[in-house]
C-alpha cells in the first residue's frame, strides 16, 4: 500500500519534470585550447527548424570559482522543446585568471556560438544571454559593456535579450558596502576571499567590473528581464539597481521578484510548469523574439 502510494507520487512528480537530455555536441573547445574550462555544450531541437531559430546562451553559477556547464537542470529540454538552440558554456575560474579574462572567455564562447549556430538551426543574430548567480553577473556585463565582444569582432546587437537570474553584483561597490553592513549587524567577520578580492581588490576595478557602470543609450544594449529571490538579503536591491540604471537610459528592463524560493531553487525551477519565473521568461521571449 505504502509502496504503491510512493510510486504514484513519484510518477506524478516525474510527469511534471522533464528528463535531462544529452547535448547534441559536447565539450566543444571554443578558444582553440585544450583547457576543459574553455568548452561548451550545444543542445539542438529534435527536429532541425525550417528557419533559423533563436539561441539561448547560458552561463552557470558558482561564484566565479566553481560550477559547470552540465549544471543546467531542466533548461536544455525546456528551451529545445520551444524550438530554440540551447548553449551552455564553461569559463575559467577567478583564482586561475583575473575577472577580465573570464569576460574574455565568455566573449570567445559567444564568438564560437555566433560562428556555428547555423549548423544547429540557430540564428547567430538572435541570441538571448542568460545566467545564474555569478553567471548572471557575467551575462549582464557582456550584454552591457561592449568591450569584450568587440575584442572578438562582435556587437551587442547580436543579443535580443538578457535574463540574469538572482545575482548580487551588478553594482559591485554598492553590494560590498551592503554586505559589509549586513555582516557588521550580524557580528560576522569579513570573508577572506569575498567580492573585494574576486573583483580585483581595487575600488576602480569594482566600478569597472560593474554592469551599471557601462549602461548608455544607443549602443545596442538589449532588453533585460532581471529575476531575483524576493527574500534574499542582497539580490532584490541589486536587481532594482540594474533595472533603474537601464530604464533611466531608455532601455527596456523589468525586475521580477519570485516568492517562496531561494538562490538554488529559482534556477532549478526554470522550465517547470506553473513556475512564476518561467512564465516571466516565456512572456519576455515572446515579446523580444516577435
Amino acid at each position: 500500500m505504502f509502496a504503491s502510494l510512493l510510486l504514484t507520487s513519484l510518477s506524478l512528480f516525474a510527469a511534471d519534470v522533464p528528463p535531462a537530455i544529452a547535448p547534441t555536441k559536447a565539450d566543444v573547445a571554443y578558444a582553440g585550447t585544450t583547457e576543459f574550462r574553455q568548452t561548451l555544450n550545444v543542445y539542438a531541437p529534435a527536429t532541425k527548424p525550417a528557419k533559423p531559430t533563436p539561441v539561448i546562451f547560458w552561463i552557470h553559477g558558482g561564484g566565479w570559482q566553481g560550477g559547470e556547464k552540465t549544471s543546467v537542470q531542466l533548461k536544455p529540454k525546456f528551451f529545445t522543446d520551444l524550438g530554440y538552440v540551447f548553449v551552455s558554456t564553461n569559463h575559467r575560474y577567478v583564482k586561475a585568471v583575473p575577472m577580465n579574462e573570464i569576460f574574455a572567455d565568455i566573449a570567445k564562447s559567444l564568438r564560437w556560438t555566433h560562428d556555428h549556430a547555423a549548423e544547429f538551426g540557430g540564428d547567430p543574430d538572435r541570441i538571448v544571454i542568460m545566467g545564474h548567480s555569478s553567471g548572471a553577473q557575467l551575462a549582464a556585463y557582456l550584454a552591457i559593456d561592449e568591450r569584450p565582444l568587440k575584442a572578438e569582432g562582435l556587437l551587442l546587437a547580436m543579443f535580443k535579450g538578457c535574463v540574469p537570474v538572482d545575482a548580487d553584483t551588478f553594482d559591485i561597490p554598492a553590494v560590498i558596502e551592503l554586505a559589509t553592513a549586513n555582516r557588521k549587524a550580524a557580528g560576522k567577520p569579513e570573508p577572506k576571499y569575498g567580492h573585494r578580492e574576486i573583483f580585483g581588490g581595487k575600488p576602480e576595478l569594482w566600478a569597472d567590473y560593474s554592469a551599471v557602470s557601462h549602461v548608455a543609450a544607443g549602443k545596442g544594449i538589449p532588453p533585460f528581464l532581471i529575476l531575483y529571490d524576493s527574500a534574499s538579503a542582497l539580490t532584490p536591491d541589486q536587481a532594482k539597481r540594474l533595472e533603474g540604471a537601464l530604464t533611466s537610459k531608455g532601455i527596456s528592463a523589468k525586475a521580477f521578484g519570485a516568492q517562496n524560493t531561494n538562490h538554488g531553487k529559482i534556477n532549478a525551477d526554470l522550465g517547470l510548469p506553473n513556475d512564476p519565473c518561467t512564465a516571466e521568461v516565456l512572456t519576455f521571449l515572446r515579446t523580444i523574439l516577435k
Binding site: N100, P173, E177, L178, K184, R196, G200, G201, W206, D237
Partner: protein
C-alpha cells in the same frame, strides 16, 4: 556625534593584486542620487537579529544605496546612549518611513525624515 556613513567599502584599499589585471579603465559609475523622500524608499524585505542600532542604520543606508537612492543618515548621540541598543526586526514590503517608526518604538528614540536626510536622536 554625527555619523555620515561614508562609503567605507570604497575607501578600503586592499593589498590584493593580480598581475594580469588591466590598466584600470575609466568607469563612470552612475552614482545614486539623493532620495527625494527617504521615507518613501521601499524594501521588499528587511531582517536583522540582535543588531546594534548603529549597524541597523548603516544597513538601511546601504540597502537604499543598492537601489540607487542615497540616504543621509545622521545619528545625534552625544552620550553614546543609542548606538549600542540591540534590535531584532523582520519586515516585508516596508517603506523606510514605516521601518523607522518600528525601530523608534523598538529602540526608544525619536527621528525626523526630511528629504534625503534621516536624523535619529535620544528622546
Amino acid at each position: 556625534m554625527r555619523l555620515a556613513f561614508a562609503l567605507l567599502a570604497l575607501a578600503t584599499s586592499l593589498a590584493f593584486a593580480q598581475t594580469k589585471e588591466p590598466a584600470t579603465a575609466p568607469a563612470s559609475l552612475p552614482k545614486p542620487v539623493p532620495a527625494k523622500d527617504a521615507a518613501a524608499v521601499k524594501f521588499e524585505h528587511f531582517e536583522l537579529k540582535d543588531a546594534k542600532l548603529v549597524n541597523v542604520l548603516q544597513v538601511i543606508r546601504a540597502k537604499a544605496y543598492n537601489q540607487g537612492e542615497l540616504i543621509d543618515m545622521v545619528l545625534v548621540d552625544p552620550k553614546g546612549e543609542l548606538e549600542g541598543r540591540l534590535v531584532s526586526i523582520s519586515l516585508t514590503n516596508v517603506t523606510v518611513g514605516q521601518l523607522m517608526k518600528h525601530l523608534s518604538l523598538l529602540a526608544d528614540f525619536k527621528h525626523t525624515i526630511k528629504g534625503a536626510t534621516i536624523t535619529v536622536e535620544p528622546k
